[in-house]
Symmetry: C2
Subunit: 324 residues, 2 copies
Amino acid sequence: MAVYTEVPDDELSAFVAGYDIGAVLAAKGIAEGVENSNFLLHTETGFFILTLYEKRVRESDLPFFIGLMEHLAAKGLVCPQPVKNRKGEALGRLAGRPAAIVTFLDGMGVKRPGTAHCGAVGEALARLHLAGADFPMTRENALSVAGWRPLFEAARERADTVTPGLRDAAEAALVALERDWPKGLPSGVIHADLFPDNVFFIGPQLSGLIDFYFACTDGFAYDLAICLNAWCFEQDGSYNLTKGQAMIAGYRRVRELTDPEIEALPILCRGAALRFMLTRLVDWLNVPPGALVRPKDPLEYYRKLRFHQRAESAADYGLVALPA
Amino acid sequence: MAVYTEVPDDELSAFVAGYDIGAVLAAKGIAEGVENSNFLLHTETGFFILTLYEKRVRESDLPFFIGLMEHLAAKGLVCPQPVKNRKGEALGRLAGRPAAIVTFLDGMGVKRPGTAHCGAVGEALARLHLAGADFPMTRENALSVAGWRPLFEAARERADTVTPGLRDAAEAALVALERDWPKGLPSGVIHADLFPDNVFFIGPQLSGLIDFYFACTDGFAYDLAICLNAWCFEQDGSYNLTKGQAMIAGYRRVRELTDPEIEALPILCRGAALRFMLTRLVDWLNVPPGALVRPKDPLEYYRKLRFHQRAESAADYGLVALPA
């Protein structure tokens, strides 16, 4: 949940007057996204989401994110579509921050994803990868393997205060990943944060994807590995092979995985687990006094990492060999 | 800001299916109300607010609040209107809590109220008092004079940790109010919490009142005293006589104040200031570790109390004598 910035009503009205969407009728801070301030906006012409970009999002990255949402929406992928102001710009400034208005997307995140949800997410992820193929901009993944050591260093000293042995385990995993991380896998635009919060469903139907603020250029199969981590484990920490099968099969219905991607799946899953473990660990160790946001548990991803360290092949994630 | 309870999407869908408002398309936690969890609900038939009543609201009071909103809406006052389910009930249960769906009300709270806003609030307050006249239920004001001593006792020991001298000043004010608190003033339904957050405007027009969860049966002029406290002071702590004049005049355009009400205005203002000072003080001294809500500053109301202690008559608040 996150509403960081209060927007005075007169500033808001002036901002919205720069768009061709009618006058503001209502604006309510909403609990969505952990990086930015989001408001539900009702104007004379409909409902929108107003996002104020807080300091964790680099301003120089915003044209990539906004441009990507426009590109994907034009390709028919359902995601929030940036609204342009009268000057033709999708990015403005409000309350001292970069700000954008996007279309309101119906649907809800599922709290307890089932197998069918996982299949739908696999399909949607592959569609996203295909739809992004001709997107002209690139953005390096700051949270890929090269970004993990600085995170580890920031957490190293106090890692064992979270659980004994965490420091050594993280370091060993990091060293192995730095050594063995695959290169040259098929890549392009990835979402890089497609957690259940960011996938909307209406009833059983997937209705859209949101929150593209970690999107970047990286290996497609790494994005799948992130989703396997985020969707296919149960509350008790066990991996649900049926959900994994559904997700991988869903993905492959839209985009076939290459042999190198299949071979790399276990290490990509280890990398994804380490990435979320480390960012959560840093947040966990650096909660400011009086923080209004409760950090997520890094140990959830420590447990997932240990599962991946025992996995031997993509079959352990539910990949079913295709008939020859 | 407040979203305390997460509602699983499947429970939500089942709950909404009990109403005649179509299926759920979206639900977003919104930062509104400090006592309850609120969600913006989009269904096949429109937008609504879903409220889950948290433990600070007594369940036995809910029929009063819900009934009052229905009564006021029927009288033409713009406020959220409870939606009844297929059984004809406006109050249900969701995620283990009492829950209600009310209509979505356009408008926004003003962050920097001007004189015209204060005049409109005075008028709307008087309309509320008249509209509530034939509401058949009553609810004692638990936060009137009899409720202040328990609050003071809960804060007494540590009051001076907030600012030196606060304990003695609060006790002296309390003793005087207990001795002199007026009895027999015109009474009926009052809002009792009509702060700027709870009054919506669209442009310069007042568009509705929300958050009736402190509403009770008490003196009308006490409600006006609460509004003078909440709307007519500047950021620097000074009382804005022009705003006070506008509010009192706005009130009197709709409902004339009686002589005893006019005479009692200074003491009612002192009481209102003490009431908010004490509840804020108790909250301030009892912030649980890891709380997601930042408490409001009790000293704001300590300063207001001191202003009121120097006021001699209603004229000091902007009441203009009517021509004889």
